[in-house]
Amino acid sequence: MKRTLISLVAAVMAVAVADAQQAPPDFSGVYRPINAFGGGGGGRGGRAGGAPAPAPPSAAPPSAPPSAPRQPLPPPTRTAPLSDGSQGRAPTAPQLTPEYLAKWQAMSKSRISGSSDSDNTAKCLPPGMPAMMNMAYGMEVMQTKDKITFFSELNDALRRVYLDGRKPTPAILDDPTYAGYSTGHWEGDTLVVETVALRDNTYIEGFTPHSDQMTVRERIRFVEPGILEDRITVTDPKALVKPWETVKTYRRMTKPPDDQLREFACAEGIEHAR
Protein backbone atom coordinates (compact mmCIF):
# COMPACT_ATOMS: atom_id res chain seq x y z
CA MET A 1 0.00 0.00 0.00
CA LYS A 2 2.75 2.37 1.06
CA ARG A 3 4.75 1.51 -2.05
CA THR A 4 1.69 2.16 -4.23
CA LEU A 5 1.20 5.55 -2.62
CA ILE A 6 4.82 6.51 -3.19
CA SER A 7 4.56 5.45 -6.83
CA LEU A 8 1.41 7.53 -7.23
CA VAL A 9 2.99 10.62 -5.69
CA ALA A 10 6.06 10.15 -7.88
CA ALA A 11 3.87 9.88 -10.98
CA VAL A 12 1.95 13.06 -10.08
CA MET A 13 5.20 14.93 -9.47
CA ALA A 14 6.59 13.72 -12.78
CA VAL A 15 3.53 15.07 -14.58
CA ALA A 16 3.86 18.39 -12.73
CA VAL A 17 7.54 18.68 -13.67
CA ALA A 18 6.71 17.82 -17.28
CA ASP A 19 4.04 20.56 -17.30
CA ALA A 20 6.44 23.10 -15.88
CA GLN A 21 9.02 22.20 -18.50
CA GLN A 22 6.51 22.15 -21.33
CA ALA A 23 7.79 24.01 -24.32
CA PRO A 24 6.43 27.56 -24.54
CA PRO A 25 4.03 28.34 -27.39
CA ASP A 26 5.57 29.18 -30.76
CA PHE A 27 4.50 32.69 -31.82
CA SER A 28 6.33 32.45 -35.18
CA GLY A 29 4.34 33.57 -38.19
CA VAL A 30 2.94 36.54 -40.06
CA TYR A 31 0.13 38.43 -38.39
CA ARG A 32 -2.33 41.14 -39.36
CA PRO A 33 -3.71 43.43 -36.67
CA ILE A 34 -7.40 43.00 -36.03
CA ASN A 35 -9.23 46.15 -37.17
CA ALA A 36 -6.02 47.97 -38.03
CA PHE A 37 -7.90 50.57 -40.01
CA GLY A 38 -10.85 50.96 -37.71
CA GLY A 39 -13.02 48.30 -39.28
CA GLY A 40 -14.79 50.77 -41.54
CA GLY A 41 -13.09 49.67 -44.71
CA GLY A 42 -11.93 52.09 -47.35
CA GLY A 43 -10.36 54.34 -44.76
CA ARG A 44 -6.63 54.87 -44.68
CA GLY A 45 -6.61 54.79 -40.93
CA GLY A 46 -10.14 53.99 -39.97
CA ARG A 47 -13.06 56.18 -39.08
CA ALA A 48 -13.97 58.17 -36.05
CA GLY A 49 -16.41 56.59 -33.66
CA GLY A 50 -20.02 57.67 -33.94
CA ALA A 51 -20.36 57.82 -37.71
CA PRO A 52 -21.95 54.69 -39.17
CA ALA A 53 -19.29 52.76 -41.06
CA PRO A 54 -20.39 52.06 -44.62
CA ALA A 55 -19.83 48.62 -46.10
CA PRO A 56 -16.29 48.16 -47.40
CA PRO A 57 -16.06 49.12 -51.08
CA SER A 58 -14.53 45.73 -51.69
CA ALA A 59 -17.74 44.07 -50.51
CA ALA A 60 -19.01 44.06 -54.11
CA PRO A 61 -18.31 40.49 -55.28
CA PRO A 62 -15.59 40.67 -57.94
CA SER A 63 -16.88 37.42 -59.45
CA ALA A 64 -20.45 38.70 -59.96
CA PRO A 65 -21.71 38.14 -63.50
CA PRO A 66 -21.60 41.27 -65.67
CA SER A 67 -25.40 41.35 -65.85
CA ALA A 68 -25.74 41.45 -62.08
CA PRO A 69 -26.77 44.90 -60.88
CA ARG A 70 -23.83 46.59 -59.23
CA GLN A 71 -24.45 47.67 -55.67
CA PRO A 72 -24.09 51.43 -55.49
CA LEU A 73 -21.19 52.30 -53.23
CA PRO A 74 -21.69 54.65 -50.33
CA PRO A 75 -19.56 57.75 -50.71
CA PRO A 76 -16.36 57.63 -48.65
CA THR A 77 -16.68 60.11 -45.83
CA ARG A 78 -13.12 60.24 -44.57
CA THR A 79 -9.72 59.05 -45.69
CA ALA A 80 -7.96 58.75 -42.33
CA PRO A 81 -8.57 59.29 -38.64
CA LEU A 82 -8.34 62.88 -37.58
CA SER A 83 -4.92 62.62 -35.98
CA ASP A 84 -3.95 66.28 -35.87
CA GLY A 85 -5.26 66.84 -32.35
CA SER A 86 -8.02 69.26 -33.37
CA GLN A 87 -10.54 67.19 -31.41
CA GLY A 88 -8.43 67.28 -28.26
CA ARG A 89 -7.19 64.22 -26.42
CA ALA A 90 -9.33 61.10 -26.18
CA PRO A 91 -10.37 60.02 -22.65
CA THR A 92 -8.53 56.74 -23.26
CA ALA A 93 -5.27 58.49 -24.30
CA PRO A 94 -2.30 58.51 -21.92
CA GLN A 95 -2.72 61.20 -19.25
CA LEU A 96 0.10 63.70 -19.51
CA THR A 97 1.78 65.83 -16.88
CA PRO A 98 1.47 69.61 -17.47
CA GLU A 99 4.97 69.79 -18.99
CA TYR A 100 4.23 67.09 -21.57
CA LEU A 101 0.66 68.28 -22.21
CA ALA A 102 2.19 71.63 -23.22
CA LYS A 103 4.51 69.78 -25.62
CA TRP A 104 1.54 67.93 -27.10
CA GLN A 105 -0.41 71.17 -27.52
CA ALA A 106 2.46 72.84 -29.38
CA MET A 107 2.80 69.83 -31.65
CA SER A 108 -0.94 69.65 -32.23
CA LYS A 109 -1.00 73.31 -33.34
CA SER A 110 1.66 72.55 -35.92
CA ARG A 111 -0.15 69.43 -37.12
CA ILE A 112 -3.52 71.17 -37.44
CA SER A 113 -1.80 73.65 -39.76
CA GLY A 114 -0.88 70.69 -41.97
CA SER A 115 2.77 70.35 -40.97
CA SER A 116 4.30 66.85 -41.00
CA ASP A 117 7.34 68.10 -39.04
CA SER A 118 6.50 66.14 -35.89
CA ASP A 119 5.77 62.91 -37.78
CA ASN A 120 8.79 60.62 -37.57
CA THR A 121 7.36 58.09 -39.96
CA ALA A 122 6.92 60.81 -42.62
CA LYS A 123 10.72 61.09 -42.40
CA CYS A 124 11.04 57.31 -42.67
CA LEU A 125 12.24 57.01 -39.08
CA PRO A 126 11.10 53.95 -37.11
CA PRO A 127 7.86 54.37 -35.12
CA GLY A 128 9.65 53.03 -32.02
CA MET A 129 8.21 51.23 -29.04
CA PRO A 130 5.40 50.93 -28.14
CA ALA A 131 3.84 52.58 -31.22
CA MET A 132 5.39 50.00 -33.55
CA MET A 133 3.25 47.30 -31.96
CA ASN A 134 0.25 48.82 -33.77
CA MET A 135 1.68 46.86 -36.72
CA ALA A 136 -0.89 48.46 -39.04
CA TYR A 137 0.67 46.86 -42.14
CA GLY A 138 1.33 43.47 -40.55
CA MET A 139 4.15 41.88 -38.57
CA GLU A 140 6.37 38.84 -38.78
CA VAL A 141 7.38 37.05 -35.59
CA MET A 142 10.50 34.88 -35.64
CA GLN A 143 11.02 32.80 -32.52
CA THR A 144 13.91 30.71 -31.27
CA LYS A 145 14.61 29.43 -27.79
CA ASP A 146 16.77 32.43 -26.89
CA LYS A 147 15.27 35.28 -28.90
CA ILE A 148 12.03 36.53 -30.46
CA THR A 149 12.24 39.02 -33.29
CA PHE A 150 9.29 41.23 -34.27
CA PHE A 151 9.38 42.77 -37.74
CA SER A 152 6.92 45.43 -38.88
CA GLU A 153 6.17 45.90 -42.58
CA LEU A 154 5.54 49.58 -41.86
CA ASN A 155 8.95 51.25 -42.11
CA ASP A 156 10.71 47.86 -41.99
CA ALA A 157 10.96 48.32 -38.23
CA LEU A 158 12.53 45.61 -36.09
CA ARG A 159 12.82 44.70 -32.44
CA ARG A 160 14.48 41.81 -30.64
CA VAL A 161 13.44 40.31 -27.33
CA TYR A 162 16.21 38.35 -25.60
CA LEU A 163 15.05 35.29 -23.70
CA ASP A 164 18.45 33.93 -22.60
CA GLY A 165 18.55 35.76 -19.29
CA ARG A 166 20.79 38.65 -20.32
CA LYS A 167 20.10 42.04 -18.77
CA PRO A 168 20.67 45.56 -20.09
CA THR A 169 24.16 46.75 -19.19
CA PRO A 170 25.03 50.36 -18.26
CA ALA A 171 26.39 50.78 -21.80
CA ILE A 172 23.05 49.71 -23.25
CA LEU A 173 21.09 51.94 -20.88
CA ASP A 174 23.31 54.80 -22.03
CA ASP A 175 22.49 54.11 -25.69
CA PRO A 176 18.75 54.60 -26.26
CA THR A 177 17.21 53.38 -29.51
CA TYR A 178 13.80 53.52 -31.22
CA ALA A 179 12.89 49.91 -30.43
CA GLY A 180 14.72 49.99 -27.10
CA TYR A 181 16.26 46.97 -25.41
CA SER A 182 13.87 44.15 -24.63
CA THR A 183 14.30 41.12 -22.40
CA GLY A 184 11.64 38.52 -21.78
CA HIS A 185 10.75 35.38 -19.89
CA TRP A 186 7.91 32.88 -19.95
CA GLU A 187 5.25 32.73 -17.27
CA GLY A 188 3.37 29.62 -18.36
CA ASP A 189 2.07 30.34 -21.86
CA THR A 190 2.59 34.10 -21.50
CA LEU A 191 5.69 35.94 -22.65
CA VAL A 192 6.52 38.80 -20.27
CA VAL A 193 8.72 41.48 -21.84
CA GLU A 194 10.45 44.51 -20.33
CA THR A 195 11.71 47.24 -22.66
CA VAL A 196 14.13 49.97 -21.59
CA ALA A 197 16.67 52.31 -23.24
CA LEU A 198 14.13 54.08 -25.42
CA ARG A 199 14.73 57.34 -27.28
CA ASP A 200 12.56 60.27 -26.23
CA ASN A 201 11.82 61.51 -29.76
CA THR A 202 9.08 58.99 -30.56
CA TYR A 203 5.40 58.93 -29.59
CA ILE A 204 3.56 56.54 -27.31
CA GLU A 205 0.42 56.56 -29.41
CA GLY A 206 -1.52 59.23 -31.23
CA PHE A 207 1.41 61.63 -31.06
CA THR A 208 1.70 61.45 -27.30
CA PRO A 209 5.19 62.62 -26.31
CA HIS A 210 7.22 60.94 -23.59
CA SER A 211 10.53 61.26 -21.75
CA ASP A 212 13.70 59.18 -21.81
CA GLN A 213 12.48 57.52 -18.61
CA MET A 214 9.70 55.63 -20.39
CA THR A 215 9.66 51.85 -19.97
CA VAL A 216 7.28 49.34 -21.52
CA ARG A 217 6.04 46.06 -20.07
CA GLU A 218 4.15 43.55 -22.18
CA ARG A 219 2.29 40.30 -21.61
CA ILE A 220 1.96 38.43 -24.89
CA ARG A 221 -0.05 35.22 -25.32
CA PHE A 222 -2.44 33.34 -27.59
CA VAL A 223 -5.98 34.10 -26.42
CA GLU A 224 -7.25 31.50 -28.88
CA PRO A 225 -5.51 29.49 -31.59
CA GLY A 226 -3.90 31.91 -34.03
CA ILE A 227 -5.01 35.06 -32.15
CA LEU A 228 -2.12 36.77 -30.41
CA GLU A 229 -2.73 39.39 -27.73
CA ASP A 230 -0.24 41.97 -26.46
CA ARG A 231 -1.20 43.74 -23.24
CA ILE A 232 1.04 46.79 -23.05
CA THR A 233 1.74 48.94 -20.00
CA VAL A 234 3.70 52.15 -20.48
CA THR A 235 5.32 53.81 -17.48
CA ASP A 236 6.92 57.24 -17.56
CA PRO A 237 7.30 59.12 -14.24
CA LYS A 238 8.11 62.40 -16.02
CA ALA A 239 5.50 62.45 -18.80
CA LEU A 240 2.61 60.34 -17.54
CA VAL A 241 0.37 60.99 -14.54
CA LYS A 242 -0.10 57.23 -14.23
CA PRO A 243 0.92 54.14 -16.24
CA TRP A 244 -1.03 53.74 -19.46
CA GLU A 245 -2.36 50.41 -20.66
CA THR A 246 -3.50 49.26 -24.07
CA VAL A 247 -4.23 45.91 -25.72
CA LYS A 248 -3.36 44.92 -29.29
CA THR A 249 -4.64 41.80 -31.02
CA TYR A 250 -3.35 40.15 -34.17
CA ARG A 251 -4.51 37.28 -36.37
CA ARG A 252 -1.96 34.76 -37.69
CA MET A 253 -2.24 34.41 -41.46
CA THR A 254 -1.90 30.93 -42.90
CA LYS A 255 -2.37 31.27 -46.66
CA PRO A 256 -0.36 33.06 -49.34
CA PRO A 257 -0.19 35.91 -50.10
CA ASP A 258 -1.49 37.08 -46.72
CA ASP A 259 1.19 35.13 -44.84
CA GLN A 260 3.98 37.25 -46.29
CA LEU A 261 5.05 40.86 -45.90
CA ARG A 262 6.16 43.21 -48.66
CA GLU A 263 9.34 45.27 -48.64
CA PHE A 264 8.72 48.83 -47.49
CA ALA A 265 11.93 50.68 -48.47
CA CYS A 266 10.64 54.01 -47.16
CA ALA A 267 13.60 56.07 -48.35
CA GLU A 268 12.44 55.45 -51.92
CA GLY A 269 9.98 58.30 -51.48
CA ILE A 270 12.28 60.73 -49.71
CA GLU A 271 13.50 63.73 -51.67
CA HIS A 272 16.88 63.24 -53.34
CA ALA A 273 17.00 59.55 -52.43
CA ARG A 274 15.88 58.40 -55.83
Binding site: R32, N35, A36, F37, G39, G41, G42, G43, R44, G45, P56, P57, S58, A59, A60, P62, R70, L73, P75, P76, T77, R78, T79, A80, P81, L82, S83, D84, R111, I112, S113, G114, S115, S116, D119, T121, A122, K123, C124, Y137, G138, E153, L154, N155, P257, D258, L261, R262, E263, F264, A265, C266, E268, G269, I270, E271, H272, R274
Partner: protein, 130 residues
Amino acid sequence: MKMRIIVLAATVVAALQLGEAPLSAHHSNVAFAVETVLTATGTVKEWQWSNPHTWLIVDVDDGKGGKVEWAMEGRAPGVLLRAGWSRSVLKPGDKVTVHYSPSKDGSKVGMIARVTMADGKVLPNAPPGD
Protein backbone atom coordinates in the same frame (compact mmCIF):
# COMPACT_ATOMS: atom_id res chain seq x y z
CA MET B 1 35.60 80.47 -59.93
CA LYS B 2 34.29 79.44 -56.57
CA MET B 3 31.22 81.61 -57.12
CA ARG B 4 30.56 79.99 -60.50
CA ILE B 5 30.65 76.53 -58.98
CA ILE B 6 28.20 77.56 -56.26
CA VAL B 7 25.85 79.06 -58.87
CA LEU B 8 26.13 75.93 -61.00
CA ALA B 9 25.46 73.69 -58.02
CA ALA B 10 22.46 75.76 -57.03
CA THR B 11 21.12 75.53 -60.58
CA VAL B 12 21.51 71.74 -60.60
CA VAL B 13 19.76 71.41 -57.24
CA ALA B 14 16.94 73.70 -58.42
CA ALA B 15 16.57 71.67 -61.61
CA LEU B 16 16.40 68.42 -59.66
CA GLN B 17 13.78 69.85 -57.36
CA LEU B 18 11.70 71.18 -60.23
CA GLY B 19 11.90 67.85 -61.96
CA GLU B 20 10.58 66.03 -58.93
CA ALA B 21 8.00 68.43 -57.56
CA PRO B 22 5.40 67.75 -56.37
CA LEU B 23 5.79 64.00 -56.62
CA SER B 24 8.62 63.62 -54.14
CA ALA B 25 6.72 65.33 -51.36
CA HIS B 26 6.07 62.94 -48.53
CA HIS B 27 3.16 63.77 -46.31
CA SER B 28 1.59 62.48 -43.20
CA ASN B 29 -2.20 62.45 -42.93
CA VAL B 30 -2.22 65.84 -41.22
CA ALA B 31 -1.39 67.51 -44.54
CA PHE B 32 -4.89 66.63 -45.77
CA ALA B 33 -8.43 67.60 -44.81
CA VAL B 34 -9.30 63.98 -44.08
CA GLU B 35 -12.94 64.66 -43.21
CA THR B 36 -13.60 65.99 -46.69
CA VAL B 37 -13.79 63.63 -49.64
CA LEU B 38 -14.13 65.15 -53.11
CA THR B 39 -14.45 63.51 -56.51
CA ALA B 40 -12.34 64.14 -59.59
CA THR B 41 -12.59 62.51 -62.99
CA GLY B 42 -9.77 62.47 -65.44
CA THR B 43 -7.13 60.54 -67.32
CA VAL B 44 -4.17 58.76 -65.77
CA LYS B 45 -0.89 60.41 -66.70
CA GLU B 46 1.38 58.33 -64.48
CA TRP B 47 1.04 55.61 -61.83
CA GLN B 48 4.00 55.46 -59.44
CA TRP B 49 4.22 52.20 -57.50
CA SER B 50 6.57 53.51 -54.81
CA ASN B 51 7.10 53.52 -51.06
CA PRO B 52 6.15 54.87 -48.65
CA HIS B 53 3.26 56.18 -50.75
CA THR B 54 2.07 55.53 -54.26
CA TRP B 55 1.27 58.45 -56.55
CA LEU B 56 -1.42 58.68 -59.18
CA ILE B 57 -0.87 61.63 -61.50
CA VAL B 58 -4.13 62.53 -63.18
CA ASP B 59 -5.14 65.10 -65.79
CA VAL B 60 -8.39 66.22 -64.24
CA ASP B 61 -11.24 67.74 -66.26
CA ASP B 62 -11.63 71.34 -65.12
CA GLY B 63 -15.27 71.51 -66.23
CA LYS B 64 -14.44 74.08 -68.91
CA GLY B 65 -13.00 71.72 -71.45
CA GLY B 66 -9.49 72.04 -70.06
CA LYS B 67 -7.21 69.79 -68.02
CA VAL B 68 -5.43 70.36 -64.72
CA GLU B 69 -2.72 68.05 -63.39
CA TRP B 70 -3.30 66.62 -59.92
CA ALA B 71 -1.02 64.43 -57.81
CA MET B 72 -3.05 61.93 -55.79
CA GLU B 73 -1.20 60.24 -52.93
CA GLY B 74 -2.09 56.60 -52.29
CA ARG B 75 -1.13 54.19 -49.57
CA ALA B 76 1.94 51.96 -49.66
CA PRO B 77 2.26 49.18 -52.27
CA GLY B 78 2.15 46.48 -49.56
CA VAL B 79 -1.26 47.61 -48.31
CA LEU B 80 -2.65 48.29 -51.78
CA LEU B 81 -1.59 44.82 -52.97
CA ARG B 82 -3.76 43.33 -50.26
CA ALA B 83 -6.59 45.70 -51.25
CA GLY B 84 -6.56 44.45 -54.86
CA TRP B 85 -4.27 46.97 -56.56
CA SER B 86 -1.05 46.19 -58.44
CA ARG B 87 1.89 47.84 -60.10
CA SER B 88 0.11 47.61 -63.46
CA VAL B 89 -3.51 48.09 -62.44
CA LEU B 90 -3.47 51.67 -63.77
CA LYS B 91 -1.90 52.82 -67.03
CA PRO B 92 -1.43 56.17 -68.75
CA GLY B 93 -4.60 56.98 -70.68
CA ASP B 94 -6.97 55.12 -68.31
CA LYS B 95 -10.11 57.04 -67.40
CA VAL B 96 -10.57 57.15 -63.64
CA THR B 97 -12.74 58.67 -60.96
CA VAL B 98 -10.73 59.51 -57.86
CA HIS B 99 -12.28 60.10 -54.45
CA TYR B 100 -9.75 62.10 -52.46
CA SER B 101 -9.17 64.37 -49.50
CA PRO B 102 -7.76 67.74 -50.53
CA SER B 103 -4.47 69.11 -49.29
CA LYS B 104 -4.82 71.69 -46.50
CA ASP B 105 -2.48 74.07 -48.30
CA GLY B 106 -4.70 74.28 -51.37
CA SER B 107 -2.17 72.71 -53.74
CA LYS B 108 -3.33 70.28 -56.39
CA VAL B 109 -2.49 67.29 -54.23
CA GLY B 110 -4.99 64.88 -52.74
CA MET B 111 -5.04 61.74 -50.60
CA ILE B 112 -6.82 58.83 -52.25
CA ALA B 113 -9.94 57.40 -50.59
CA ARG B 114 -10.66 55.10 -53.51
CA VAL B 115 -10.46 54.96 -57.30
CA THR B 116 -13.16 53.79 -59.70
CA MET B 117 -11.92 52.58 -63.08
CA ALA B 118 -13.74 53.01 -66.42
CA ASP B 119 -15.15 49.47 -66.25
CA GLY B 120 -16.63 50.15 -62.83
CA LYS B 121 -13.98 48.24 -60.90
CA VAL B 122 -13.38 49.84 -57.52
CA LEU B 123 -9.94 50.06 -55.96
CA PRO B 124 -10.41 50.61 -52.21
CA ASN B 125 -7.58 51.88 -50.04
CA ALA B 126 -7.82 49.17 -47.39
CA PRO B 127 -7.87 45.38 -47.62
CA PRO B 128 -11.25 43.67 -47.09
CA GLY B 129 -12.10 43.35 -43.43
CA ASP B 130 -9.77 46.11 -42.29
